[in-house]
Symmetry: D2
Subunit: 415 residues, 4 copies
């Protein structure tokens, strides 16, 4: 099986060598782009698309910036053409007028990206291109028009319907696993042994979304622990010496880390679908699992405490738990949404705030950002829609009775 | 392996049963569509999307027509909004104005289709929906606005970069092979034995494009015969008794049948890429193959002969060959393109007209459409771009010297 | 994926061409065999093994018979050597003496077969060789010594631990499915449509055992119908128009056909393991299935009736049912085992005789062999061991209460 | 795909839990073994086989030793029965007498192992059992009779025809790769990064033999470097900083490490087939590779030098090269075979001694065993048979002209 893959890769190399060698085209990349988008490009664009991608890859930062600026400014929508087409369509909503408006109203850089994509492996290169672009946008925000088009296109291509959920485990290929090590963003994986501890025990799971055009690249992945009861600290969950729990004794699935992998897909949200899909799949396969929770960081807590002058109380676990609860349920940013970004993510997905734990993440980072506190968000599959709607329409934060009581008490000034 | 698939299908069935059972939503489908496209739909849209697809499936033709009309007329672009956004963008080409224009200039039915697509299996159902739509358009051409959006979206989703080339052979799954029997459009396959004769011999190949979201459905496939020299008749190519040629003796690959499979993807062209990709792959694996030709029908010949009053000469093979050549090289439709549709396809791909054969297809259909004549189009990988450009820019038809001579002679009035 | 297979087959062809071409060895096949078994053969035997297999394949029947006779008579155990080694081992049960006895006591043709097996594809060719041998044994039973060794070796190679259970369904490769059509031995499959009716509906299953060295060749397969209640006729089970039953409504799995595929593996029993494995797997995946039965032919009934002079009663369904029951429970062959071969198979597996049906197989064959009667053998996983032991030790036939009552009544002479 | 595996493992666990739970059998393991081998065991042996394997696994060393002694002494061949059967067969070479002899002449422990093997995963457990046995044999060599039977059986099961050659690369599953790290016996792999350097670069290959019943366990693997010219040191081959060579520039494949993985398969040789198969495959895929050599250790050199009192010359590279050559070509053990075990292995495979390098392995181990010298054995596919035969029949060592000259010179006493 793999021998075959090996053979093929040799053949492909040979073929690409041939293709790549096709007489270099000396014209400027801008000309190539315009040609590729033109009528001729549809049939003969393969070699042109290769050239454009290869040239881009070889560019230094300044050249890339210039190229992005060209795409942003020159391959833009022409407002005059849109205006004319709109007037015509307003007057006569005919098919011909509609088509004319459609054509005019899409920036040609979208068609350019679609035609580049015919080259094998191009999708990953376009995603990488956007990663580059996002870096330039920090200093040159005007490039955001190009980004709006790329993001629109990538959202369509990376539509949920095209993503494949795959388990990631100790039987997964090493070249995928090394990406898990590299991309883990919440609780760093410091070695292959550490990775094995998160994947191999029978009470651990990991799942990722993949796109068929980038089969070796996870887009996002979630790490899951199967537990008996809801855990209150990341230390106990990840401790080296612990005994794995037999699956049959587990009643809870804990999503303790979610990491996005592709900077070039920023702003295209997969996490919401991933958690729900994994929860649904696990409850099908392991029907004894009835509770789905996260064990999540509270990244904004310390900053808020400092602002409030409450950061002298962080050595008292009871106080930390109460303050963290108060922060999660009460601290809002402009517009009424919760101040904490992780809270916004899970609440908008339809989760509720279930429990808060002090001394739950004693790592340097955990102490620095939240005085060691963590929170469980609960995904109750029967209430997700309802919770989400209440949150999205009216900023209602659903929380467990005990936390609501705790928050009420905390609000009450001590007499 | 397959036992696993079997297990899974059971689990999926169970899960879908649960999902499907989620409280039926009694609101009109139009309301569901508007809700799904709205802000809330992004997170909780899964159940809504299921409902919309299921409801559509259950509709009778009148209800479907009404639904398409709703999508065409109500989920349309709003010209006033576009006009306002365009004016703003013309005045100030800011990022915010660009985003506003982008949003206004896309009909909401595109976002609807993207959100429907999150349901497993939805892509195939959206393709089937368009197949339906194309039928209604025959009597209600105004629906073509909706079609323009669907086609735009499907072109992006079925972009060449996402298609997978797969060989189809006697080891392929039966449920894929039965589709080959059903979809073969050029030379009908009348039984599984007939199919085996086209797939199993060592001098036969078949390749198809597949999309990962519809893995069991070929989009287009091409049947190939490996031969020694260029064949002049389909009868000899498909004869039952023939001895297969050892691969090592073959020097030519003949594309003798190309069939599109998905009516719902009409107008999205795959054939051009398919032929070139297969030619490239075969020449990598079988380097002794140096000639790539088609053996193609000439569907418009008889009609043209009848118009010209030349159809009394069809019993003379020499005459048929000359007339067919004259037709292919000389008969044009308005705009200067060749009258024959198959010729237009291959010439636009960059092929040349290589040879014409009388008595090459003696089936009832072959005699009726072209007096039995067939043609070889030659795909010379080194000249494809050049040929295509000459054809696309100046309607130049590249042909072999012998055919050009024959056409010249035929043009000369007999004295 | 398949493209890779395609590539590989080309490469393998090339490689085999090279190998096959290695200077033909003109020595007699007997010399080659002796050399291959000798010490040198262990390292350089590959080419020799190829030659022997190819030569055998090219032989006419007389040459094959002569070759088998050579293997049977010349590559036999040498009793003198065994006698000497045995005497030594009886006197001194040392390791060296044991090894000497082991070597002497195995006919060299076993080592020959093991060395032949190093050639890719050889296992299937050795199985085919035994098929040939079994044919010659009909007229030359003395060859059974060679067969005893081959069977011993093949039993070890096709040990249950090496077999893979795979579902066979409408997604299986055509070249496997055509073998199902060819090998079905109980209720003939007359077309691909007929095959599809047995594989595709959701209330049908088919499973086979495969060996990794012959991955395209089922060794044995069983066809299963999922039903509500125990069916009493094969006609209703296989009727063309019937509505498939949703899996969730099924409570019974009916094994209605078991076919051995490899004549060359005759005498190596797989059916026993297959039925139990499938029953175990199905009860894991479809826990609502609680009953596992066969719907089996009664091949010896008519012959027995004719011998008893009872064949004038075959138009009376009640009588047929009673007589068939009497036959199954009471008719014995020498040694006390049931006369009916199918009964012997299932009873020895630990099944019980559960129910008998008249008019259950109205095909020409069914009427001819059993007056249309069929029988359900019940596989109760909890009682298999017990039933088997009672049968194997004391020839006890376990049967349902109603059949035992019926048999008792039938025995009672009418007054 | 992997999700499916995940599902299945759950199902299997469930199933095993059921099976395992089947009423524990309290009888002694010896009774179970005798029963399993008996007639009843063929049908109902599954539960018994599970028990025996589980009981063995739970045993402490003393109990295992006792169990092996039982198998060795009690489940032995009965010489009286063999003697009687031999006498009968000598008198009348009938089929019945042959069968009787066959039965008598095989120790029942072989049938026991075959019946144990029906349990999923049993093959690996039987291999592990032999690993245990080999340890006990160091102090209790009488157990070698049991070992002779196990080795005979395992040789048949792990016959070349059943092994699968698979490439091992950076896309291989982690749980296979960690075994490569663990089993590498020649040049230790000290981390996953080190492993990646041996697998990922385009001028590196690794291949292993696998058995279908132990798909995650390599049996033996070879590491290959593609080079330009024949390399003379392991340091340069494995250096961290080196630039990978484009495949197309390589003309040589260097087998620089071969490691057996399964102690329980000791004495069953795979290395010979592996090297030749890999050489054949590589020359098919990369036709520009025309030289196949090893870069091998010379494990016995230092010991021999010490014996000869020549170990004071090991700082002179020229002297080391000459002495190593003299050792390889001239130092023999009793019986005339080369004294060096690695030399014996490759020469018996048909390789020749091609070149010797001083300062080729400067690791502590390399210096200690061979004063840093290494040797290239050449596998010339056209001469393998010839070389092997000359070596096996007459102990002829084939060597390159330059080494023969060097050895001659070294033999000549300096004047």
């Amino acid at each position: 099986m793999s021998l075959l893959a090996d053979l093929l890769s040799t053949l492909i190399d040979r073929r690409l060598a041939v293709t790549g060698g096709s007489k270099a085209d000396d014209r400027p990349i801008e000309t190539l782009c315009r040609d590729l988008v033109g009528n001729l490009g549809e049939v003969t664009g393969f070699a042109m698309a290769c050239q454009i991608l290869d040239r881009f890859q070889a560019m230094d930062p300044d050249a890339r910036h210039a190229f992005f600026t060209f795409l942003n400014d020159e391959m833009d929508i022409d407002p005059d053409a849109v205006a004319a087409a709109t007037t015509a369509y307003a007057a006569d909503r005919s098919v011909a007028n509609f088509r004319r408006l459609m054509r005019a109203a899409e920036a040609p850089r979208q068609e350019l990206a679609r035609r580049l994509n015919q080259v094998p492996g191009a999708t990953a290169r376009i995603v990488a291109m956007r990663e580059d672009l996002l870096r330039f946008m920090k200093t040159d925000p005007a490039l955001a028009k190009l980004d709006a088009d790329l993001r629109h296109l990538l959202s369509s291509w990376f539509n949920r319907g095209f993503l494949v959920l795959r388990p990631i485990n100790w039987e997964s290929p090493a070249h995928v696993l090394e990406k898990i090590i590299a991309y883990e963003a919440v609780h760093a994986i410091d070695s292959w042994d550490d990775l094995r501890r998160r994947l191999q025990p029978r009470d651990r799971r990991c799942f990722g979304f993949f796109h068929p055009a980038m089969p070796d690249e996870p887009l996002i992945f979630v790490e899951v622990a199967l537990t008996k009861g809801i855990p209150g600290s990341i230390q106990s969950l990840l401790s080296e010496g612990r005994d794995p729990l037999p699956e049959t004794q587990a009643d809870t699935a804990v999503f303790y880390s979610i990491s996005n992998c592709q900077a070039g897909l920023a702003g295209i949200s997969f996490g919401n679908s991933l958690i729900k899909q994994v929860a649904r799949d696990l409850s099908g396969v392991l029907p004894q699992i009835s509770t789905f929770v996260t064990l999540s960081p509270i990244p904004g807590l310390m900053k808020w405490l400092a602002e409030k002058g409450l950061d002298d109380r962080i050595d008292d676990p009871e106080a930390v738990r109460a303050l963290a609860t108060q922060y999660l349920l009460g601290a809002k940013r402009e517009g009424g949404l919760p101040r904490d970004p992780v809270a916004r993510f899970h609440l908008n997905n339809g989760a509720s705030v279930h429990e808060v734990h002090a001394r739950a993440d004693l790592s340097a980072n955990g102490l620095a950002q939240s005085a060691g506190a963590m929170v469980n968000y609960l995904y109750d599959l029967d209430r997700i829609t309802e919770n989400h709607e209440a949150f999205a329409k009216n900023q209602v934060i659903t929380a467990s009775a005990q936390l609501r009581a705790l928050a009420r008490k905390a609000m009450t000034p001590a007499t």
